[in-house]
């Protein structure tokens, strides 16, 4: 019996995952424990190891395709086992749809489903795209630009390495012909094929975009370096890629606005000093200012549910629980582990859990459950020389609190000038969920609790 490679269930909340990048191709030899592919859950990219040694069979879930937890991604065939005609479990979104939607800028969730199976199909995406495609099928969407050549080029002499995307700009003949017909310059388009090859779909998608957003304007990153300029290209890690995509999507879709407030921190520091030995005794971990901030933010969120909400499909969803995400920078990139029910946990427990999450993040052992379910994010650059900063919302959350460093600042007290430690809080808000006043009320409460942490006891 061949061994199934399944979509692992990496946490209680995980229902499905996406195969991001297969590291091996069908027919490749696999050692047990070898990394087979990267999968992406709603929060994290995880490497999947081969459960057995053998030969990798056909990829049942290709790059970019989703599979339910437990779904078979591929099979590994041991000696004596014949590669059978594997079939794929029907996905809820047909494989064509996501790539096409992504390329065309169509929100898959906004696409109305026409098929009886309830699956979102390419045709649905195309219908959502509108009429500009001139009755021509866009054809199925391409997958990321690696190509399993069938047996024709399986021989060792066959070129397998596409090499660097150099200065040349590739296109298929069909794409060029179609671009000409549609009056587009294919050289200005982003190709989705191997080596960035512009294929017909890219042309049709470009043609289908509203003319007010000419595709040529929308891509400054493709401006090549001037001649003679030396550039070293670095591929992002899977985590970096996900972050990049999410941040770009967030910044492009959620209307951000920012509220700032300076708060005194002398009492907070004093409380921290007093509680430090107590927490250490109780939980065996060192209490940090972040722990205190988590506790304070959680309390404020419980009182101001609008800041613990999200925008979806024209409506506001309000979370019942308060799960505070803590932004942690690791070698692999930015991750946001989540401290659940932070409004109901004692400080010692928060400190213990925070400590464990950060440690896992630094050593790359975070599991998807650790990253799932955040309702608000706290990002603290207090340890760096940053006075204040504006964070990008962590979608679909509607608010994120950015905390700068605590430094001695002059303050006017009772008409006199005094010096005391203070820091600047900056709240980023999704205006679809929070308006200025509700944002200000929430930020005000946070400021109040930082300045007078004893309020937590009330």
């Amino acid at each position: 019996m061949p061994t199934d490679v399944i979509m692992p269930k990496l946490g209680l909340t995980m229902e499905e995952g996406t195969a991001v990048t297969w590291r091996l191709a069908p027919g490749d030899r696999v050692a047990e424990g070898q990394i087979l592919l990267d999968i992406e859950t709603d929060k994290v990219v995880v490497e999947v190891e081969a459960p057995a040694a053998g030969v990798l069979g056909p990829l049942l879930v290709g790059d970019g395709q989703k599979a339910p937890v437990g779904g078979i991604l591929a099979r590994i065939y041991g000696p004596g086992e014949q590669v059978a005609g594997d079939s794929v479990a029907a996905p809820r979104i047909t494989p064509l749809a996501p790539g096409m939607a992504e390329q065309a800028g169509v929100d898959l969730d906004a696409v109305s489903v026409s098929s009886a199976t309830g699956r979102v199909t390419a045709a649905d995406v195309q219908a959502a795209l509108g009429k500009t495609a001139q009755g021509e099928g866009l054809g199925p969407a391409p997958r990321p630009p690696t190509l399993v050549e069938p047996r024709a080029t399986r021989s060792p002499t066959a070129p397998q390495n596409w090499g660097d995307r150099g200065a040349r700009h590739f296109s298929s003949p069909r794409a060029r012909k179609r671009a000409k017909e549609l009056g587009l310059d294919w050289r200005t388009l982003t190709g989705s094929g191997p080596r960035g090859r512009v294929i017909e779909r890219d042309v049709l998608v470009a043609a289908a975009r509203p003319p007010s957003i000419p595709p040529t304007v929308a891509k400054p990153p493709s401006i090549p370096p001037t001649r003679g300029e030396e550039v070293r290209w670095e591929a992002p890690s899977p985590v970096q890629r996900v972050v990049a995509e999410r941040m770009a999507a967030s910044f492009g879709s959620a209307p951000h606005f920012y509220l700032s407030a300076e708060v005194r921190a002398d009492v907070l520091l004093a409380v921290h000093d007093r509680l430090l030995p107590i927490v250490e005794r109780r939980a065996g971990v060192r209490l940090t200012l972040t722990d205190l901030l988590v506790r304070i933010v959680a309390a404020a969120l419980a009182e101001h549910p609008r800041a613990n909400a999200f925008w979806h499909d024209g409506r506001v969803g309000v979370h019942a629980r308060v799960n505070v995400g803590i932004a942690v920078t690791t070698e692999a990139g930015l991750v946001v582990p989540v401290l659940r029910d932070a409004d109901r946990k004692p400080l010692a427990q928060i400190a213990a859990e925070r400590s464990e999450l950060v440690e896992k993040a630094r050593t790359g052992r975070l599991m998807p459950d650790d990253l799932a379910g955040g309702t608000f994010t706290l990002t603290n650059l207090g340890m760096y020389r940053v006075d204040s900063f504006q964070a990008i919302l962590n979608p679909p959350q509607s608010a994120i609190l950015a905390v700068g460093r605590i430094v001695e600042r002059p303050a006017v007290i009772d008409g006199g000038l005094a010096v005391r430690p203070a820091c600047v809080l900056t709240l980023s808000c999704d205006h679809r969920v929070l308006d200025g006043v509700s944002g200000a009320q929430f930020l005000g409460r946070v400021a109040e609790l930082i300045e007078e942490p004893y309020g937590l006891l009330v």
Partner: protein, 328 residues
């Protein structure tokens, strides 16, 4: 419509043509009393007698030579070469004599013969009984090469081959004889040189021959589950090739997978790819994919043979590759 096996469809074609035209006769090893190693000629001896249903010695060159001479002098022989592998023994008769006579003698000689034979692997017959040598004959001007994939096509094409005034290499597949399919009662012909679209689709064109047509149709089912609509074209006649039907499809889909059971190098897939890129370059949205047998003599062992011959999954992967769908 009634169902007939590929074998019975061929047998029926022979019965009908021999009844219709007294010039038609069959010859070959074990074709008479035994009814043919694959039983395609059974019942003919009793009906038409031993001169028209000639059991021959094991002499492939002699069989084909005799067929050439008889064809040049007014008969319409249908010679059976038990396995296409054995046709190598008769190569001079087929290539230097049958294929050349009409042109070489200024158009005054005709060689209306049919060489019926069977090719293909998949049954563990090993290196000398499993080859797909159709391209040897496709390469020779003057020959017509036919490879039916269904009982319906087999009957209609064999009748057309017998009536054709040229030497026709009619290649059956050893794993198709027991397949069944609809075959209408009564007379019908399938024209030589006309492809058949076995399945309609918009996303990718799959051109496949002989048993690979069945594989391609199965692959198309799998692809459909994944949201890919494949168009499957069976050329039926490899030479002359109905390029127009293929090009028309590629103009629609922009993507082409060519599947053939012959060895990859210098094979049918390369030939079709070369012609299509010339005829439809501006319509291609992806490189043309080739799915063919490994460049090895076919092994006896089942695992090895399965690995060597294209599988349904190979076709699925190639089609996905043509759509930029696979990871690597």
């Amino acid at each position: 419509m009634r169902e007939l096996s590929y074998r019975d469809a061929l047998n029926e074609a022979l019965h009908e043509e021999m009844t219709r035209d007294p010039r038609v006769f069959v010859l070959g090893e074990d074709v008479g009393r035994y009814g043919g190693v694959l039983q395609v000629t059974r019942g003919l001896l009793d009906k038409f007698g031993e001169k028209r249903v000639r059991d021959t010695p094991i002499s492939e060159a002699g069989i084909m030579g005799l067929a050439v001479g008889a064809a040049m002098t007014g008969m319409r022989p249908v010679a059976e070469i038990m396995y296409i592998d054995f046709s190598a023994l008769a190569m001079d008769q087929i290539v230097n004599q049958a294929a050349k006579a009409h042109y070489m003698f200024g158009g005054k000689t005709r060689v209306p013969l049919v060489m019926r034979t069977q090719g293909g692997g998949g049954r563990g017959n090993a290196a000398q009984h499993s080859q797909s040598l159709e391209m040897w004959y496709v390469h020779v001007p003057g020959l017509i090469v036919v490879q039916p994939s269904t009982p319906y096509d087999a009957k209609g094409l064999l009748k057309s081959a017998i009536r054709d005034d040229n030497p026709v290499i009619f290649i059956e597949h050893k794993l198709l004889y027991n397949t069944a399919g609809p075959v209408p009662e009564g007379e019908y012909l399938i024209p030589i040189g006309v492809a058949d679209v076995k399945r309609l689709g918009n996303h990718v064109t799959i051109v496949a021959t002989s048993r690979m047509v069945l594989f391609a149709l199965e692959a198309a089912e799998t692809l459909a589950e994944q949201g890919i609509q494949a168009e499957v074209i069976d050329p039926r006649t490899l030479k002359p090739l109905d390029l127009a039907t293929i090009v028309q499809s590629v103009e629609k889909t922009g993507r082409l997978v060519v599947v053939n059971e012959g060895a990859l190098t210098g094979g049918f897939t390369a030939e079709v790819a070369a012609r299509v890129q010339r005829a439809a370059f501006d319509w291609l949205d992806a490189p043309i994919m080739q799915v063919a047998t490994e460049d090895v003599p076919l092994p006896y062992n089942g695992r090895l043979e399965f690995e060597a011959i294209p599988s349904v999954q190979d076709i699925v992967l190639a089609a996905r590759g043509a759509l930029y769908w696979n990871a690597g």
